[in-house]
Symmetry: C2
Subunit: 393 residues, 2 copies
């Protein structure tokens, strides 16, 4: 064929992170077939869905088999019953959302990736290290990307100090994947004020908000004026274990506009053209997860994961090793000891302790020298891992 | 805010078609509260899911509540069990697909809309009248669109005759929404040959293939060489009544390439960045629908709808009114009698027969003067509508 392709794809680095990890683990297992490997690299939930959620999925599935209750095309922006459940969820943190600003998605990744469709050729500011979707989706559009460096000095929470006053698109992820670092109220006020004064848009990824326990804002809209500068993208993946169910929600307030053009009007047009809504049984499951009883059940699962981060944190405290995260996040972001590089430490852990984690450099160049441990293994396995780590760190 | 938006959105016409229809129906009902309105405008299935599909949905939902069978993130391109089911479905029409070329989606609309992401700035050729997603998704990218005029002369099946030999992106929809017109083998050979000789890409929308009964190709890959020039986007929405369940599949053969760059490699990158796969229970439901027993059950529903198109066709034949579709399609595309315009006929039908249909002009300017009737009402309602039409046409 001779048609033109999107040449921007040439600028996206191939990610070999997880295939590289798998290769190393496989090679090690071949040499050491009896090794009892503990996986603390999993970025995916492992506990089953709460009963109330399963019941809702099953009930809605059965409705689809009965003429009177069968449902065809869902509304592109989500059923009102689910938008109302999302609004009630925000009401729990004293925020009032109108249903027009709520968009139901098949997960945060889709909306975080597709949001570029409604934006023009702006300068893009992205934290580093961070979840790779922001970078790759903008590279595909040929956008100019600037990195906001995370480091021990700023506790992996880059701030707007020193940025020029041109309008820009800024991605923030709080609690951050992979560092677990979480902006507090005052820090987010600075970002919102900066966005207001510079005419910038903040795309706020709150996928891990349910893990917050230290009082940090669970939504950017807790900050005065954020509804004039920020889109919030959230997910039930981690909050309710929905990674395999696929449902999230995005908030685009009607107060977000450029020269009188409402961003949520553009997003409505985008979604009505390129999306046909989320599966009905999935939306019922999400509604159940966001009910008072559902939230309680989901929290039990989060408590289980938190026991794991606690064990890991205590060990790192004991050893005096720097880390961030682990409090408001299922992730612990540790400094590799003895100035090891990320992959060096990966090999060290695999060989000396039969533990698999994730090299920090996989999340951006400023992740080099760091390492991500996750809390999604079982309590037993995590305990085992902690004991092994105690011996070798 | 002062950031730049995607200005191409200014070039997309607002679609008032269905809101306009609803307004007219509402106004009529207010004046005539006792009117027994029959809706032949529905573009959505109405029969419930077959039992085998519901059972699969329920079983997979229950698996998600049990630790041992819980599943997290699905593979971005679909589970192998479903890709294998799709391959077996194609095997029924004697086509061999390798799993690498099959991508599971949350519906044809998403993939038809998102496919623009991997393409560059090409000239776009789109039939008219047709499903509006092709036009709008390309307008959002600022692409230059050329229309392939459908008319009674070409039986609403535009051919490549007269096109220059520059490489282009060509959308084909067969059976067509809204006209029901279906390319036969020889016609598709001409399109594939033209694409080959001009270096063009065909995006083939086969969402209605399951309705084909006259021997026309149910896949573009029945045509020799199509695997070098065509992407096929398909759906379970109409075949299995999945409009509310959300699942489809897209075929991008490994043989599709431009200067050595494989299109399915770009699509993999696109999907891995901006999509996180389809809900596990939904994929199990799709697997069931594509099983031999599932197909049989789904066909029963299609037979039901086909009784409706048959009644409508017989009436139009009796009245000597021109129409296309209704054989390989749930849609009948009729010429408005007495040279009425689409909306004129809409009002005429609503007032004289209390029947709601869809004005053809809603699918493009060349749809003016035509009207779409669908087969998704009940047999009883369709029969009633036919009796009323007999009196007024």
């Amino acid at each position: 064929m001779k048609i033109k392709l999107n040449d921007n794809f040439n600028n996206i680095a191939e990610s070999y992170l997880f295939s590289d990890i798998n290769k190393r683990v496989k090679a090690y297992k071949e040499k050491n077939p009896s090794a009892d490997i503990v996986r603390l690299g999993i970025g995916d939930v492992t506990l089953p869905l709460p009963k109330i959620v399963v019941n809702a999925l099953v009930k809605a599935s059965e409705e689809m088999g009965v003429k009177e209750t069968f449902r065809g095309y869902p509304p592109e922006y989500g059923y009102d019953f689910l938008k109302e459940a999302v609004a009630r969820y925000y009401k729990l943190i004293n925020l009032d959302l109108d249903l027009e600003s709520i968009f139901i998605s098949d997960g945060a990744k889709s909306d975080l990736g597709n949001i570029v469709d409604i934006l023009g050729d702006n300068d893009i500011y992205i934290p580093n290290p961070v979840y790779p979707v922001y970078v790759d989706s903008n590279l595909m559009e040929g956008r100019k990307i600037h990195y906001l460096k995370g480091s021990e000095e700023n506790k992996f929470l880059p701030m707007p100090d020193g940025l020029n006053n041109d309008p820009k698109v800024i991605y923030l992820c709080s609690p951050n994947n992979p560092t677990g670092a979480t902006y507090n109220y005052d820090e987010l006020v600075k970002w919102v004020d900066y966005a207001k004064s510079s005419g910038s848009l903040i795309i706020f990824d709150s996928a891990y908000e349910a893990f917050i326990t230290d009082g940090a804002p669970r939504s950017i809209y807790k900050i005065p004026g954020a509804n004039e500068v920020a889109i919030e993208v959230s997910s039930l993946s981690k909050m309710a274990g929905f990674t395999g169910v696929r449902c999230g929600f995005t908030i685009i307030p009607s107060t977000l506009e450029v020269s009188g053009v409402k961003l949520n009007k553009l997003w409505k047009r985008r979604q009505a053209t390129k999306f046909n809504g989320v599966s009905y049984p999935v939306q019922r499951a999400a509604e159940a997860a966001l009910s008072i009883e559902g939230i309680k059940e989901c929290q039990k699962n989060l408590e289980y994961y938190k026991e794991n981060t606690k064990m890991l944190r205590e060990l790192l405290d004991e050893k005096g090793i720097y880390y961030s995260g682990g409090v408001n996040s299922p992730y612990i972001w540790m400094k590799c000891p003895n100035n090891m590089k990320s992959f060096e430490f990966f090999d060290f852990l695999l060989e000396k302790a039969n533990i698999v984690g994730t090299p920090g450099v996989g999340f951006g160049e400023y992740g080099e020298g760091y390492f991500r441990l996750t809390s999604f293994a079982s309590n037993e396995d995590t305990k085992k891992a902690v004991e092994r780590l105690r011996k070798i760190l």
